[in-house]
């Protein structure tokens, strides 16, 4: 126990003496939480639309007005030539071309239907998908509008209509920040837990002080605890700071209890600290540790459900996310913050996280050798 006291004293002195680490711990959560949720928005706006109008009728005029009035589109070109508009797409000045055939108005009045052509620049898949969906929606509405004009008396309605009303549960205003902020907090905690720990230990390897430690009677578990405890505490500090920012900047107050969040975070930190320790037993230089960390972080974030929903991933990717601790934490923190889940609701994830903690730390301790 006394040994541990000396180790902890040394670690805390070193951490707080390094201005870069202190800055990282304080600034990282604040900057990331302020910038990312505002920038990472799923809503697609300002879709650049080019219209080829061969008809020039009052109907097409009404339709174009309706499209531009929606606020999602920015009209970048109106002309008679499809080829001309295609050039805009090539120059990346248009995302969607809407072609209105000649005699559109006449056809629709006479034949009760008329074709429209939509060409979508699908380089940015999300933008293309959502943009064309919005456009189809607007045109469908317009279609109904003109039919309402024809049918003066709504007594006989030739077209049965199903209207859907909906309400968004848990996040009624579809607030993206409410969705993003907890996820980013989870990623931040992972960075502090896993990567700062691994860099810290590998630094001792690089400088050579670890060899000095290895010839002392310090027990392996003392050394490891001496490294893990400070970052465990720092992780909880970052989490607290993060919730402070979430409240002040976004007004986000978890619906569930902080006890649930911190209980899970404590176990989660154990798991990611184990991961950091594991990385440090394989890496010999800080550079190697950094590269491994970047590689893992990319996978963790992209397969963690922060930006894209895990439910819409292919089966094999879903299997990978089962081995991604970040995915569990993102899920849990969103459940508790947005839905108000309790400790009982997240007990399955908590149990899995204990499993992660045991496996990762066990593997790391097995791998850490005091002698070669």
């Amino acid at each position: 126990m006394r040994t541990l006291k000396f180790l902890l004293q040394k670690e805390f002195r070193q951490i707080f003496r390094d201005p870069a680490i202190v800055r990282m711990i304080l600034m990282m959560p604040i900057i990331q939480l302020i910038l990312l949720p505002l920038a990472a928005n799923y809503e697609v706006k300002n879709v650049k639309l080019a219209i080829v109008d061969h008809d020039h009728s009052s109907y097409t005029q009404q339709m174009i007005n309706k499209i531009t009035a929606s606020g999602y589109f920015q009209l970048t070109g109106v002309s008679n030539s499809y080829n001309e508009e295609m050039k805009l797409v090539e120059k990346d000045e248009a995302d969607i071309i809407l072609e209105i055939p000649a005699q559109f108005e006449r056809t629709i009045v006479k034949e009760n239907k008329a074709p429209l052509f939509m060409a979508v620049n699908a380089i940015n898949g999300t933008r293309a998908n959502l943009g064309s969906a919005y456009l189809q929606n607007i045109i469908r509405n317009y279609n109904q509008d003109i039919r309402m004009q024809w049918i003066q008396k709504p007594r006989f309605n030739d077209q049965p209509r199903i209207e859907i009303t909906y309400s968004n549960w848990y996040n009624p205003h579809m607030n993206y920040q409410l969705f993003m902020v907890p996820g980013i907090l989870a990623v931040l905690l992972t960075m502090v837990g896993a990567f700062m720990t691994s860099l810290n230990i590998v630094k001792e390897k690089e400088v050579g002080t670890i060899e000095q430690i290895n010839v002392t009677p310090i027990r392996k578990h003392h050394f490891i605890l001496g490294k893990l405890i400070p970052f465990w505490i720092l992780g909880l500090v970052v989490l607290t700071l993060g919730f402070g920012v979430a409240r002040i900047v976004y007004g986000i107050i978890p619906l569930g209890s902080f006890v649930t969040i911190y209980a899970f975070a404590m176990v989660y930190l154990l798991a990611v600290l184990g991961l950091g320790l594991l990385v440090s037993t394989y890496a010999n230089t800080q550079q190697q540790a950094m590269l491994i960390s970047f590689f893992l972080m990319m996978i963790f974030i992209l397969l963690g459900g922060l930006y894209t929903s895990i439910d819409s991933m292919p089966e094999w990717a879903k299997t990978i996310t089962k081995f991604n601790p970040v995915a569990y934490f993102i899920e849990v923190i969103r459940m508790v913050v947005i839905k108000g889940s309790t400790l009982k609701d997240i007990s399955k994830q908590l149990l899995i996280m204990f499993g992660f903690a045991i496996v990762l730390n066990g593997w790391a301790i097995f791998n850490y050798k005091k002698r070669m």
Binding site: G208, T209, T216, I218
Partner: protein
């Protein structure tokens, strides 16, 4: 110096795959002795020393340090030795005093003892004014002397020094050796590797390693007689020229 043997090695060997870094070396070191461990770069000195310190497991052979077996009792050995590696071993981002406190603490010294001992070491090194300075701000010679003092802070039976005076100026080297003599007089056995042949003259006994084997082992005077040489430098050159292994 008594006849009590604090280090014994019998046919101690370390292989890395096909490469035999240390080939069946045998020797004994008595209590309070200053034992010089010489050899060209890559001769296997550091590997041999690391086996004795419990940092590296021997491939075969036997060895005891402070009466403990290197295979089974390495943790007990560690309580009884001090070690100063080639790489600088103090924490540069801790102060002089904090380093002493840390190393004293992990060897189980009491707070009172750490305080007394720190004052004594600071006085011996004339570094009272620097006690609250970060170690990285000190000149190399001072750092080396401090590292040695920290290595023997817990008053171990044996101290292992791996090229402790590398890159240090002649005056500081001289002072460093005075510290080594002082430690030996207090009963600490000193096991030291070096490149400097004038330092070899200061040792009670010297072993010279060539290609992983001990080629010569005796007092400096006897070695010079044996090889009909005027200085240890000549003895060393005669032996080192036989080396096949390159760095």
């Amino acid at each position: 110096m008594t006849d009590e043997k604090v280090i014994t090695a019998k046919a101690l060997t370390k292989k890395f795959g096909d490469f035999i870094a240390v080939s069946s070396i045998s020797f004994e070191v008595s209590k309070g002795e200053i034992f010089g461990f010489l050899g060209a770069n890559g001769a296997g000195k550091t590997t041999a020393m690391r086996m004795l310190c419990g940092l590296s497991l021997p491939t075969s052979g036997e060895a005891t340090v402070a009466g403990f077996d290197v295979y089974k009792e390495s943790e007990k050995i560690k309580k009884n030795i001090g070690y100063m590696s080639q790489k600088f071993s103090l924490y540069e981002d801790l102060t002089v005093k904090e380093n002493m406190r840390f190393y004293g603490g992990i060897y189980g010294l009491t707070d009172k003892r750490i305080k007394e001992k720190s004052q004594q070491v600071l006085a011996d090194l004339h570094m009272e004014a620097e006690q609250n300075k970060l170690v990285k701000s000190l000149p190399l010679g001072w750092k080396q002397k401090l590292a040695f003092s920290v290595a023997i802070f817990h008053e171990p039976a044996i101290v292992f020094l791996d090229e402790p005076t590398g890159g240090v100026d002649p005056v500081t080297r001289r002072e460093f050796w005075e510290m080594i003599y002082q430690a030996a007089q207090n009963g600490t056995t000193v096991f030291v590797t070096t490149h400097y042949m004038d330092e070899a003259e200061y040792c009670n006994r010297v072993s010279i390693m060539v290609d992983g084997r001990i080629e010569a082992l005796d007092t400096p005077t006897n070695l010079k007689k044996q090889f009909d040489a005027a200085s240890m430098d000549e003895v060393f050159l005669q032996l080192a020229r036989k080396a096949v292994r390159q760095e």
